[in-house]
């Protein structure tokens, strides 16, 4: 129990720390940020449940007013801004990413974690993001999807990194890749 709480808190802190890697703000205001890599890592390393909880805890802290999003942003405002869809999608992205890594065991971990990150951290996350943008900017889903395409390249690279990191970690410290530990 203590261990789970500590892991969840530390990975929430990890997402926060990744916010310090300078963000690139695109033309339409949603930043390209390393924090979405943090979300993928929560899934691939901690697994579905703990991963999603870590992301939820992070968002809770943002909501109660801590400046943890990239660029030192936070507070309730971001949850009604055009980023909101993505933020709401984060815990689901971590959950699905983690679920895939937990259950797909027949391929090398680099591949599994990478593909899981693409499915959870790109496809699913973008679904939320697109809906959020379309509501907040009053655009059609197609139009919003056009905007979001600017993230694809960066996020594919992040998914690749998540895959490699997870596999490297599994080699160096097998016990710490909890999504693959048999005792949950």
């Amino acid at each position: 129990m203590e261990k789970n709480v500590a892991l969840i808190a530390l990975f929430a802190a990890l997402i926060a720390a990744l916010g310090l890697i300078p963000k690139i703000t695109l033309g339409f205001g949603v930043p390209i940020t390393a924090q979405s890599l943090g979300v993928m890592l929560c899934g691939t390393i901690l697994g579905s449940k703990r991963g999603a909880l870590a992301v939820l805890l992070f968002l809770l802290l943002v909501a109660i007013g801590l400046p943890l999003l990239s660029g030192g942003r936070g507070g309730l405002g971001v949850f009604v801004s055009p980023s909101a869809g993505f933020l709401i999608g984060w815990p689901f992205a971590a959950f699905v990413t983690g679920w895939i890594v937990e259950n797909w065991r027949s391929a090398p971990l680099t591949l599994v974690a990478g593909v899981a990150s693409i499915i959870g951290g790109i496809f699913l996350m973008y679904a939320f993001g697109i809906v959020g943008l379309s509501v907040s900017l009053d655009k059609t889903l197609i139009e919003a999807a056009g905007l979001v395409s600017a993230f694809v390249l960066g996020d594919v690279i992040k998914a690749g990194i998540a895959g490699m990191l997870t596999a490297a970690l599994a080699k160096a410290r097998p016990a710490s890749v909890l999504s693959r530990a048999d005792v949950i």
């Binding site: 802190a13 990744l18 205001g29 007013g65 900017l137 009053d138």
Partner: protein, 200 residues
């Protein structure tokens, strides 16, 4: 870590946090049903008025936070000028600014401890699903305490990279950084257990 609560004390600081949050929910919802541009403009003017009440410093720091929205505003403006639907565009922009400004206003006038009280209250119904509010509170405290520690360690790691390289650290330090976080988690778990953990 410093929360985004404004150091300028306002009367709203002493209002119950729960009421502010409930009010915010209703107001935000309401904004999405409004279509008329003049009404949106009026709402936004009122919001700006609220920002102006506590004085200049508060107003300026509030506007600075809104500034982050300019790319959205620009893109929506260009879009609507191009498609000729100016009125819709103005409504979207005003609604966005009012919604974000109101939410920021609640954040700026509510102390962190009051927010945590609300979280505890909201967590209560979930107790039957095993969510313990004492653990949730502890987890919040842990993140607040450990984020700066982790960031400091991350800085040291990237300096360790720079000490042996002409280039800046790449993504590769994310692996040792993750390992640091995992190590910290082990140690924090033990520190918790050493003082009773969650079973007492």
């Amino acid at each position: 870590m410093i929360s985004l609560t404004s150091p300028t004390k306002t009367w709203a600081h002493s209002w119950p946090a729960g009421a502010k949050l409930a009010g915010l929910c209703i107001a935000t919802l309401g904004l999405f049903f409004l279509q008329s541009v003049p009404v949106h403009a009026a709402v936004f003017a009122v919001v700006l008025g609220l920002y102006a009440l506590p004085g200049r410093a508060f107003f300026v720091s509030g506007l600075r936070k809104l500034q982050l929205l300019w790319p959205f505003i620009l893109i929506v403006a260009i879009w609507h000028v191009w498609s000729g639907q100016m009125a819709e565009g103005a409504a979207v922009i005003l609604r966005l600014m009012s919604a974000v400004a109101l939410a920021n206003l609640v954040t700026m006038t509510t102390r962190l401890t009051d927010m945590i009280d609300v979280v505890r209250f909201l967590a209560r119904p979930f107790a039957r699903f095993g969510l313990r509010s004492d653990i949730l509170e502890l987890a919040i405290a842990l993140v607040i305490r450990l984020t700066p520690v982790l960031i400091q360690k991350g800085n040291l790691l990237s300096q360790a990279w720079r000490a042996r390289s002409r280039r800046r650290a790449g993504w590769r330090i994310i692996l040792p950084f993750t390992i640091l976080a995992l190590d910290d988690a082990d140690q924090v778990a033990e520190a918790l257990r050493a003082r009773g953990g969650f079973n007492t």
